[in-house]
Assembly symmetry: C2
Homo-oligomer: 155 residues x 2
DNA sequence: GATCTAGATGAAACCGGCTTGCAATTGCGA
DNA sequence: TCGCAATTGCAAGCCGGTTTCATCTAGATC
């Protein structure tokens, strides 16, 4: 599920900055959009559209699910938000952060491991020399076997 | 969507070999399973469960969709089949082949590029040294920008 | 401040991919 | 050949996500 349109990342750190981005594109700053952005800023990690629409479980103000999807897609197009797919559940959305990172998931035990920007760059450089692709690994996790499971025979 | 259970690859090249694998596990060789395996052998590349259930569009005998999914999942557990997710559509299933490979998809123009086993091994070795993971890239494609799109400014 | 209008919202229905429940069927060992 | 558990097909259901459309509202214009 590659995003329909890829856009340059745009790091926003506060609600006013985010709303300025909207206005600079001639888009409206509605109560719903403000709520969604505030929820994203308040969230501690990537959250599902449903959780966001519920106002992080009631902690902040929410909106209906289709609107959440519409706005998340918009924010993503503007480069303020990215979404990841980890596991079988829904996609998880988060504001674009300064430090890029990615996840690796063990297919056998489910262990989740985070790769730093430096580690990613080494891998990316290997892909670049293989086929010229400028890869990022932020949308899908890297799948495989963690060190512990790789040592054991296949179940 | 990592597979629920990872299993060692088991390359089968013919229908008899595949049925022997089933029998060796105490599983039944039903007409439906034989049909599914013959369709997979006849398919020219990864196919969706729906296309498989239709008997590759009527060319061979098919079965109902839930049975197709059940059997594909079984074959995957036995290591004979793997499935990939490329683009937004359904997962695509194929018999495990001798030559491992993976895909890279450009997020902007959609270009699909195949990575050889040797190229993959170089990338995998980089991941291994980063976090000890034994990565494979056969379930999700590697996403990024192809050489051509990476050169142009973000749209 | 009142008016106007395109852009945004919410409610409901819809969609595709996949799974589950269950009665009917069938492979295959005895 | 018989018996029964594994397997099947059908129908319904589930879940993540999208579309439709009438209503509402941000914000430009007067």
């Amino acid at each position: 599920m590659p995003s329909a349109s890829y856009s340059a990342p745009r790091v926003v750190t506060g609600i006013d900055e985010a709303m300025a981005v909207l206005r600079s594109q001639g888009l409206r700053v509605s109560a719903t959009r403000r709520a969604a952005l505030e929820a994203l800023l308040a969230a501690e990690g990537p959250v599902s559209a449903e959780y966001l629409a519920s106002g992080l479980g009631g902690r902040v103000s929410g909106c209906d699910l289709p609107s959440a999807y519409r706005n998340l897609e918009l924010f993503e197009r503007l480069g303020m938000v990215r979404h990841v797919h980890i596991g079988h559940g829904p996609g998880l959305y988060a504001l674009v952060a300064g430090d890029e990172h990615a996840y690796a998931v063990c297919e056998r035990c489910g262990e989740l491991s985070r790769l730093s920007a430096a580690q990613l760059e080494a891998i990316r450089s290997e892909v670049r020399s293989a086929n010229g692709f400028e890869a990022h690994f932020s949308h899908f996790p890297i799948l495989g076997l963690c060190a512990a499971c790789a040592g054991k025979p296949a179940g």
